[in-house]
């Protein structure tokens, strides 16, 4: 009798822990970060390799990504100083999942477009495009980077999101 109860306790504890764990893992889409977008951008930018980056005008954002910056709460882009480089850093705060989808497909198209352009010609550029590019969304922010220090910048982005305003 006692043994049965003990077993029951053990097994349902396991179930409870599992449920908590899964809920914890599934979370992350519902909460929007209240961090200051400008600060998030700075955090990500300073951790990237900035030798080739310059800020982009809305014109350039429209041309390179086909999206209208005025439609988003916050939209900023750094792009390469010369046309033969591919460094880029994009940060957008979106309002809902349809905007998020829009940004995701625009960024993917941009990455593929650059790959098509530099295929066979730019070995260094292809390396960056293939191995040093990150696209992610978290807590209401979309982040896209092509840069030698993409990992560090992405980590800084994630950390900055956790900072409350």
């Amino acid at each position: 009798m006692m043994k049965t109860l003990a077993f029951e306790l053990c097994r349902w504890t396991a179930v409870a822990v599992a449920i908590l764990f899964i809920v914890r893992l599934s979370d992350g889409f519902s909460t929007v970060s209240s961090a200051n977008p400008q600060k998030v951008l700075e955090a990500a930018y300073t951790c990237a390799d900035t030798t080739n980056l310059q800020p982009a005008s809305n014109q350039i954002i429209k041309r390179l990504y086909g999206i209208d910056p005025s439609e988003y709460e916050f939209c900023a882009l750094y792009y390469a100083l010369t046309n033969m480089d591919v460094d880029e850093l994009l940060l957008i705060k979106y309002a809902d999942s349809s905007q998020e989808q829009q940004i995701q497909s625009a960024a993917k198209a941009r990455l593929q477009g650059q790959k098509n352009v530099f295929e066979n010609y730019g070995v260094g550029q292809m390396d960056l495009l293939n191995n040093h590019s990150i696209l992610m969304s978290d807590s209401g922010f979309a982040f896209f980077i092509i840069n030698l220090k993409a990992d560090e910048s992405a980590a800084a982005f994630i950390n900055a999101l956790r900072e409350e305003e």
């Binding site: 352009v117 066979n120 010609y121 292809m126």
Partner: protein
């Protein structure tokens, strides 16, 4: 289990373990390589394994990529797998490249993008209409799959490029369209395309020039050329892409006879050159970059032709080896590659006082390109 029967029974196991241990030792001894010439790409370096990368699964992928890229004798393994595919299984294509007869490699055309095409054609028409005072020309060059079809592996479906090119010519207004497909077809038994690269040879470009020049009101008979072979060891893009390394191409240049000095300026480098041939590239893998130093956003070529004509050449890499025929006919040639140039056509036409505009593209690139539309957009 008798111990004297144990070891003779484990032949395969011992073979496996010893081979694996061998490769691990070799891997430890040999240093990591950064770049693969045969594959023309950077090789993965040892990944940084952080808590985050383990958690999101990227550590596994990066480690696999690293081990695979740095595996000893990588080129030998590619050769073995290529041999198995194309000689044992007799497959006709490898990684998007047809393995043709006589070591001819031909790029399989990509899927066309009708939406982008429509936008492209209307922007060309808009530019033609806006700049009525300039002469406009266009030529879309068919690729090897269309012209060298006698070298294709058997039963490859017929190329749709001739039809696509005709459709384009019919959608464009007010512009002189030069279709060289028929002419190139007539000479298909000549070396019009490289065996190992997706570009046409200088010979192929010259053939097209004999048709495009009259259309542009240039007289090709005026100029004679000296033909020089500058390389006999060219292994182009299709070699790296497909894994087939059985042929070395010859590169020829056509130098106009007589005095035709040029000054070549690259917009993205502060460099001036006295020739359109960048011979330093002949010592590298990408020998085709000999022509105009590869791809640049904007190149200006100033000559002493004294013809009062300035050409704007909007192009992809096919035109790089076409420029060598144009230099005697124009005071200045402005060579623009829309994939890398973010200026607009208005800016360029006004700044350089353009009198002639030529679009020169190969069919495969033209079908999928989206950057031309951006270049031709009016602000």
């Amino acid at each position: 289990m008798q111990s004297n029967q144990k070891s003779p029974k484990l032949w395969v196991t011992s073979m496996f373990l010893s081979m694996v241990i061998c490769f691990n030792i070799i891997a430890l001894i040999t240093p990591d390589k950064e770049f693969s010439e045969t594959e023309n790409r950077m090789l993965a370096q040892s990944p940084s394994v952080t808590a985050k990368s383990i958690a999101d699964g990227s550590a596994e992928k990066n480690i696999e990529k690293y081990l695979s890229d740095q595996f000893a004798f990588r080129d030998a393994w590619s050769a073995i797998s290529f041999f198995t595919k194309c000689y044992l299984f007799r497959e006709k294509e490898s990684n998007g490249v047809y393995i043709g007869k006589d070591n001819y490699l031909m790029l399989i055309p990509s899927e066309s993008n009708p939406e982008a095409m429509e936008k492209k054609l209307s922007s060309v028409n808009a530019v033609t209409e806006k700049y009525g005072n300039i002469r406009h020309f266009i030529s879309i060059i068919p690729n090897a799959v269309t012209i060298m079809n006698h070298k294709l592996p058997s039963h490859v479906p017929e190329s749709i490029q001739p039809g696509q090119i005709t459709d384009i010519s019919q959608s464009l207004k007010g512009i002189t369209f030069c279709d060289v497909t028929g002419l190139m077809k007539k000479h298909q038994y000549e070396e019009l395309y490289y065996h190992t690269d997706h570009h046409w040879t200088s010979r192929g470009a010259f053939l097209a020039f004999t048709a495009i020049a009259p259309a542009m009101q240039l007289n090709p008979d005026n100029i004679q050329y000296d033909i020089y072979t500058v390389s006999e060891s060219f292994e182009g893009t299709l070699s790296s892409k497909s894994g087939s390394h059985r042929y070395y191409d010859k590169i020829e240049i056509y130098v106009p006879k007589g005095e035709h000095p040029v000054t070549v300026k690259y917009s993205d480098k502060d460099e001036t050159s006295g020739t359109i041939y960048q011979k330093s590239f002949l010592d590298t893998k990408d020998k085709y970059a000999l022509f105009l130093g590869g791809n640049h956003p904007l190149v200006t070529i100033t000559t002493t032709a004294d013809t009062d004509r300035t050409l704007l050449l909007i192009k992809d890499s096919y035109a790089n080896c076409f420029v060598q025929f144009l230099t005697p006919y124009f005071d200045q040639i402005v060579v623009v590659d829309p994939r890398y140039c973010y200026d607009t056509v208005d800016m360029i036409i006004n700044e350089y006082e353009i009198t002639d505009l030529l679009y020169l593209y190969n069919a495969d690139t033209f079908m999928t390109d989206t950057s031309l539309t951006d270049l031709l957009a009016f602000e």
